[in-house]
Amino acid sequence: MAAVQETVDRVRRIDVDQYRYGFETLIESDKAPKGLSEDTVRFISAKKNEPAWMLEWRLEAYRRWLTMTEPKWARVNYPKIDYQDLYYYSAPKAKKTVSSLDEIDPEILKTYEKLGIPLREVEVLEGVVRPPEGEEGSGQRKIAVDAVFDSVSVATTFQKELKKAGVIFMPISEAIREHPELVKKYLGSVVPTSDNYFATLNSAVFSDGSFVYVPPGVRCPMELSTYFRINERNTGQFERTLIIADKGAYVSYLEGCTAPQRDENQLHAAVVELVTLDDAEIKYSTVQNWYPGNSEGVGGIYNFVTKRGDCRGNNSKISWTQVETGSAITWKYPSCILRGDNSRGEFYSVAISNGHQQVDSGTKMIHLGKNTTSRIISKGIAAGVSQNTYRGLVTAHRKATGARNFTACDSLLIGDKCGAHTVPYVEAKNSSALFEHEATTSKISEDVLFYCVQRGLTQEEAVGLVVNGFVKDVLQQLPMEFAVEAQKLISISLEGSVG
């Protein structure tokens, strides 16, 4: 358990007010004027050299957004957001498309270095070990990074190899220009522009994000990953990601985020859409570590995300794995629409709240096809004065005969000032559906901690050990690269929660 030891060491060195990733990079920005109007939408669209149909799509979303009201049903409290007081677009200045990392602003590269995710490492990996043709999983695993720095993708690597496999992996802004037929067909087909307040806002002003298309029968030759980072003061970040796995295709996508420390709250309203056709599979993993606010609860990211996958084809599968440790407020329900017969949805989640964080997260499993199955494993950990809510919906349509779901929601409380809440909605509209729901809430027991310290562990080491045991089922779902990082984040985020 060396990793646990390491995380505990790190915990000691860090406290809430010394958020490790709280630094800014000094780069000139290219900003849209403050506030939101049709002009802002036009500005963004023009910046991206978008075709007319895309601008229309955005404007339609914007007009609809004006008629909507912000949802209030989540168990979170925050001051009213002034949407006219935000910037909706900012991009690092002046750089054109680059063919190698050398052409990227060294400031940006430095930022990634501080984060411990150097792009260079990817290059080195690329150059050093290359698995033999047609042999997957042998040798070193490779990760392709489409780095999103603020709103624009500044580097895209591994393009050639992906191209050889026929995989399209590019910033969505480029995909709109280069693959309009695919974007038109799938964008908004899972999360329609009218879906919800934040998704509609995103549709109007989304800045950039990733686009992935894996053609029929192709197993994507590497893990795809994107690192998000909010860097511009007062800039809302509106990511838009669209991943399509065509018939029989497979892709695993990783996403990780951190953000610098600041006092103003930052709005983040991303939309992620996944589509799997017949026999296809998408595995989507997230490690989220945005600035949670300081020990008084000031600052921190507002994270209002809409993530949804559509198992459109028969025998297709979508799996969400998330480790949520950051943000002041999290409002996030990665969901699966199980449309195809025999399709399968999975949701594995660790949501940690400490300090003044508020988490309202969960999933929706919507069973439409026959013999569809879903599995939900949710681990909520609340410490400090935080509130942690699991909110989930499992529903079987009238025609979804043989639908099956298993749900296990476990909550762990650390200290006596935090709260854990479980709000499951279960609906079966046909009698052959079989839904199981298990939920537990436990306090981290004094007896367990004493047992550990009697064996020589310090109090904080003991908490780290017990918590990592609690979330093990979920961490096992993460790709190797993230599992270690996630384990570190979990211990860091619980620093100062005992003693």
């Binding site: 009697q454 020589g456 017990v466």
Partner: protein
């Protein structure tokens, strides 16, 4: 110098005094048995020595190797060589026994400034210790005590004792919940750890355990004090006549 010296120890729990001036001296190489009826303060004594929170020491002192034990945190005491075999070992789901043992052993070694065990060396050491206690590797791959039988839990405690090599072992009601065969296995494990450098304090209700772990000294506790001490024959005497005769003495 004695290994453990408890002098006139007074302990309260929730304003109620449980130990009223208890004294006990244990030398290295000795095995002491502490017997007494329910509520006489046996487990309280073991918890206070190990440093469990929730007990208020209002008087007296505990010296371990001449140092003030009450000034140390529970993990520091463990590092110094105090080991408590729990009456009810806790379960830690998701943490495999192997990882737990290695994490704990290395935490102790690090705190003492010793080199930490690398995985292969640790596994080698653990295999030999587990083998001698008849503990299969399968059991060690399960979560700590999760789904263990009573006998397995107690063997896991003894396994830790053997791995950590503490100088003071306190065994709290080791016989509770064990059938006679499991008891024999556990006792054999304990006996194998007897050494001139190590002392043991065996807490029990019944004389039965002492047939397997033969003590050098037997103490009788009643109402928060040691009321009588003697050789191993004292345990037999108790078995015959019960604790009632000591109730008045307390």
């Amino acid at each position: 110098m004695s290994l453990l010296e408890v002098k006139d120890l007074q302990v309260r729990v929730d304003e109620r005094e449980i130990l009223h001036g208890l004294s006990l001296t244990v030398n290295a190489g000795e095995v002491h048995a502490i017997m007494g009826p329910n509520g006489s303060g046996k487990s309280t004594l073991s918890h206070v020595i190990a440093g469990k929170p929730g007990y208020e020491v209002t008087g007296g002192e505990i010296l371990f190797k001449g140092e003030d034990l009450l000034e140390m945190s529970p993990d520091e005491r463990a590092v110094k060589g105090v080991f408590l075999a729990f009456q009810y070992p806790v379960e830690i789901p998701g943490v495999t026994t192997i990882n737990f043992l290695r994490t704990a052993l290395n935490a102790q070694r690090k705190a003492r400034g010793e080199a930490e065990f690398l995985v292969p060396d640790f596994l080698k050491k653990m295999r030999s210790v587990a083998g001698s206690l008849n503990i299969p590797m399968d059991m060690l791959k399960r979560g700590v005590n999760v789904g263990f039988s009573g006998g397995e839990k107690k063997r896991n405690e003894i396994l830790q004792m053997a791995l950590f090599e503490p100088s003071l072992c306190i065994l709290d009601e080791m016989d509770s919940g064990l059938d006679i065969d499991a008891l024999r296995v556990a006792a054999d494990g304990v006996n194998a750890l007897r050494s001139p450098e190590r002392a043991m304090v065996v807490i029990t209700h019944y004389q039965r355990l002492l047939n397997y772990i033969v003590p050098d000294v037997v103490h009788v506790m009643s109402k928060g004090r040691v009321v009588k001490s003697g050789g191993k024959e004292l345990a037999l005497e108790l078995e015959a006549s019960g604790y009632a005769q000591f109730e008045d003495a307390a």
